[in-house]
């Protein structure tokens, strides 16, 4: 049995026993396009701590033109974020943050965030995204 064969077997096992983890729920699919991942860095301009989703808004500067676009970023509901350690002052207007997420299907400057990083501190905050597999982090 060659090393190469072992590797192939290992990969095959990995493939067949892995459980799908990208559990995108339905409303997420209707609003956001998994084929359009986005990574954005911007300055927080507003935060709406409301149900069914917390939204925050960031000014994103286009690196080539310098134009500023305001993006709306969706996360899970307030309670779910707080269960993951968010406090109401975890993010403040003026903070610089980076988000990884999925762009709105309708082409608007909106996205669903999977991960939020506070640029100044490097702290990563989970978003209770409706596009994630966390058991109690799904919405709708």
């Amino acid at each position: 049995m060659t090393r190469k064969t072992f590797t192939k077997i290992g990969m095959f096992i990995g493939l067949v026993v892995s459980i799908p983890t990208a559990m995108s729920h339905h409303s997420f699919i209707a609003q956001y396009d998994p084929e359009q991942p986005v990574t954005l860095t911007g300055v927080v301009t507003n935060i709406d701590w409301m149900n069914p989703h917390v939204y925050f808004y960031i000014d994103v500067k286009d690196p080539t033109t310098g134009a500023i676009e305001n993006w709306g970023i969706e996360m899970g509901p307030p309670h779910m974020l707080q269960k993951r350690g968010w406090k109401r002052n975890s993010m403040k207007i003026g903070d610089v943050i980076e988000i990884e997420g999925t762009r709105a299907r309708n082409g608007s400057t909106n996205a669903n965030a999977r991960k939020v990083t506070m640029t100044a501190t490097g702290i990563v905050l989970g978003t209770a995204s409706s596009g994630q597999t966390i058991t109690s982090g799904k919405s709708d």
Binding site: I13, V16, A30, H53, P78, S136
Partner: protein
């Protein structure tokens, strides 16, 4: 991968066995996990659908669950919690108009789902809506009350006092529900639904003739088994059944969820063409 030697054949057999097991685990489960905790019971022996006093938690309606196995939806969000007895979508006895409507809703990613406009989640919808629901079994009051977060933030009554359904119930989101115990299974019979909600997020249609027979049981501490029989001659040519498993989540408690306060989902979805 080359099949060369007897060693390789043996490893291949192991792989096939593992693959078969994984499929078994994904598509045929009747249990959510290997919980060793005993299923709790009330002092009179009745099975409990909540926790013992020292185990706070509740039931989290799973996203990966539907009334039937639909390969197209399965690609979008794998339905790992469907009951092994669920029909394939091709075998669901839709009336022709209902199948067409279901397929249209599927093609639109369910963009018109009333639930995402903060409308109440009638019928099976509540049972695969996340954020948790509690089951208050109140025999002294003659009913069971479902306290739900995702419905949104509302409560549903199942009468356990032996009363019949009214002759002509006023159509409502939750219908008129009566229940009884069959051993450790709670059987809920409901009529009198309005037509303003979807049976599930996948958009199974129904009419005002809808009559549901739901069966809830708890095969182990961490699993609530939900199975429903759909009896709606207006939308289906015969009765049919489906369901899923709902996981217990330790520590879950009911929380404030006023969907109406800032719902932008509709605005985001209306851009999708029919």
């Amino acid at each position: 991968m080359e099949i060369k030697t007897s060693h390789t054949v043996k490893y291949f057999a192991i792989i096939v066995a593992l693959y078969a097991l994984s499929l078994q685990a994904v598509f045929s489960q009747e249990s959510n996990g290997a919980s060793q905790r005993p299923v709790p019971r009330w002092p009179d022996g009745r099975i409990s659908f909540t926790g013992p006093p020292d185990v706070i938690g509740n039931w989290d309606g799973p996203v990966g669950a539907s009334l039937a196995n639909d390969k197209i939806y399965n690609e979008l969000f794998p339905q790992t919690r469907n009951l092994p007895t669920n029909l394939e979508i091709e075998d669901v006895p839709f009336q022709p108009w209902a199948r067409k409507l279901y397929e249209t809703r599927r093609a639109n990613y369910g963009k018109d789902d009333p639930h995402t406009r903060c409308k109440p989640s009638g019928g099976p919808r509540m049972f695969h809506t996340p954020y948790g629901f509690e089951i208050l079994d109140l025999p002294d009051a003659g009913h069971i009350i479902f306290i739900s977060v995702g419905t949104p933030h509302s409560w549903k009554v199942v009468y356990m006092d032996g009363r019949p359904h009214p002759e002509s119930p006023e159509p409502s989101w939750f219908g008129h529900a009566t229940g009884r115990w069959e051993g450790d299974t709670l059987v809920i019979d409901t009529v009198g639904f309005n037509e303003k909600f979807w049976l599930t997020r996948e958009g199974f249609p129904h009419t005002a003739q809808l009559h549901l027979i739901e069966r809830l049981s708890r095969p182990d501490f961490d699993t609530l088994r939900y199975e429903v029989t759909i009896d709606d001659p207006g939308a289906y040519t015969e009765t049919w059944s489906g369901g899923w498993l709902i996981p217990w989540v330790d520590g879950n408690e009911p929380f404030d969820y006023l969907c109406q306060e800032n719902n932008l989902d509709g605005r985001h979805m209306d851009a999708i063409d029919n």
